[in-house]
């Protein structure tokens, strides 16, 4: 701790100069979020015009609508599957790359880098063409697309999480003759439990309202929340996007905490607790 203290840079003048700048950036970044909350309660049929009395009528209309409910269900289902797939591939990719001499890590790093740089609009188009040519369900394409969007994040989160802790622990386990699958379950998974929870939560949160894949891949049904929101552009703008946003802002901390708790509990169930002696 004292080592970190002595390494901290002390530039009070620059800090004081940068704080107002950050305040402006933060205000501009959070302004639409705050406005969405206001708009959902005070919104009228005219964009930009707020009523003087708050009401829940847009929430009631949203919850009463069969189409909105079905779209929400589709979005949540896709996001859950994509998040599970992302977590699974993240674990397998990071674990197997640690069983190798470094070549696999380089290959995965290269793939993750190219995926993060490659325009996802083009990948969505490629998925749509593949689905129509190979004849498989567009739903599968959307899930693969959402997984591809998350894959680089997943990879880099797991890399950051397992860099420090995993190597000596895995090495010890293999030296003691523990099998590859047992090491994965009892050593590696508990070590990266936090990263796994973070990945699953981030994957879910970035997938549920992804617009690129549904807009490009789906022609008609199933209508996801993002596709339905996107289609609102061609009609009168009622505060439904604000209602969706506000519900999400309420559910966001809950989702995060629940995933964190759930994954940690699951991981601890099969873990061999290691005590770090310093």
């Amino acid at each position: 701790m004292s080592e970190l203290y002595h390494a901290r840079l002390r530039l009070p003048f620059l800090t004081v100069m940068l704080r107002p700048l950050f305040a402006v950036i933060a205000a501009a970044t959070l302004l639409p979020v705050g406005y969405a909350v206001l708009w959902s309660g005070f919104g009228t049929g005219t964009p930009g015009l707020l009523s003087s009395e708050p009401s829940l009528r847009w929430y009631q209309a949203f919850l009463a609508s069969e189409e909105w409910r079905a779209a929400t269900w589709s979005s949540v289902s896709f996001a859950l599957v994509a998040a599970l797939l992302a977590a699974l591939t993240g674990v397998l990719v990071s674990y197997t790359s640690r069983l190798d001499d470094g070549r696999l890590r380089s290959i995965y790093a290269f793939i993750a880098l190219l995926t993060s740089a490659f325009p996802m609009l083009l990948f969505a188009l490629a998925l749509r063409v593949s689905a129509s040519r190979a004849g498989f369900d567009p739903t599968l394409s959307v899930i693969i697309g959402q997984w591809a969007i998350i894959f680089p994040f997943t990879y880099f989160i797991f890399e950051a999480a397992s860099d420090a802790a995993a190597r000596p622990a895995l090495w010890s386990s293999f030296v003691l003759g523990v099998s590859v699958s047992n090491t994965l379950y009892r050593i590696y998974l508990p070590l990266i439990a936090s990263a796994l929870a973070a990945t699953a939560a981030i994957a879910f949160l970035t997938s549920w309202d992804d617009a690129i894949m549904p807009v490009v891949i789906f022609d008609t049904a199933p209508e996801t929340l993002s596709k339905r929101l996107w289609n609102l552009l061609n009609s009168d703008l009622y505060p439904y996007p604000a209602v969706v946003g506000t519900l999400f802002y309420v559910l966001f901390p809950g989702t995060l905490m629940l995933t964190l708790l759930l994954v940690r509990r699951l991981m601890r169930a099969g873990s061999v607790r290691a005590r770090q002696s310093s």
Partner: protein, 257 residues
């Protein structure tokens, strides 16, 4: 044998999911008829150049925000750091479409239309895209600053180097690859953007991504969309090559079995 399968199974899966569709698409593009290249409306060169200009503006603005925020993160203590990370983290996952609709409503308000009529202008598109893409760039730059060895800073301090010089010549200088990488990634994302340009920019086609989506959405014309996408991909090739060159290399670690 089993170990080899263990090692390679995820790689095969990743390649199948990521490269498979690209191969099928490449085969589709190779057989494109000449009619697919008959673009109507704005000339494709004009739109590509416009996209390039606006994307470069967005990338520069995003870099400025990311550097300012990451440097402040480096200088702040525990609470300040937590606030910065919370704001940027929340902004990153807080629903792109919802935020864009909120901006439409904000720009449509009486106050904005009277004093700052930005809606359906390129300025509004650049502003909103910058605010949308800045958090990701911030996290990349922050990661670089976080990984600067404590010993290097301590050594510089012991040698009597001022804190400002440490910030500029040690911290920012050693993070320059990551800073460049975040700028290039932002540029690539911006070039193919279609959501904010369509929503905030209105019907005007500032970005090539909009033309691609219009081809797919309105007429289901995958041929023209693919031809446009190929133009976009070719224009991005030098940037993609630069990203591969600039990217910090992986350190090799070995676990013996």
């Amino acid at each position: 044998m089993i170990l080899t399968l263990w090692r390679l199974a995820p790689l095969v899966m990743v390649l199948l999911f990521l490269i498979g569709p690209i191969f099928v698409w490449a085969e589709f593009i190779a057989a494109l008829p000449s009619a697919a290249w008959d673009f109507t409306g704005a000339t494709i060169v004009d739109v590509t150049l416009t996209s390039f200009f606006y994307s470069a503006s967005v990338a520069l603005a995003v870099l400025a925000i990311a550097i300012v925020t990451a440097v402040l993160w480096l200088l702040e203590g525990g609470v300040g750091r937590a606030v910065i990370v919370a704001v940027m983290g929340f902004a990153m996952v807080s629903g792109l479409l919802v935020r864009n609709y909120s901006w439409i409503a904000l720009f449509s308000s009486k106050l904005a239309t009277e004093h700052l009529p930005l809606l359906y202008t390129p300025g509004a598109v650049v502003l909103v895209m910058t605010l949308v893409l800045a958090p990701l760039a911030f996290f990349i730059v922050r990661e670089a600053l976080k990984n600067i060895p404590v010993q290097a800073i301590q050594a510089a301090k012991t040698l009597g180097v001022s804190d400002f010089r440490i910030l500029v010549f040690l911290c920012l200088r050693s993070s320059r690859r990551w800073i460049t990488l975040s700028g290039l990634l932002t540029f690539c994302s911006s070039m193919a953007y279609f959501i904010t340009p369509r929503m905030i920019g209105g019907q005007q086609d500032y970005f090539i991504g909009n033309l691609i989506v219009i081809s797919v959405e309105r007429s289901g014309n995958l041929l023209t969309a693919s031809a446009l996408a190929l133009v976009l991909l070719l224009s991005l090739m030098p940037i993609l090559a630069l990203i591969v060159l600039v990217a910090p290399k992986q350190r090799r670690q070995r676990v013996s079995l």
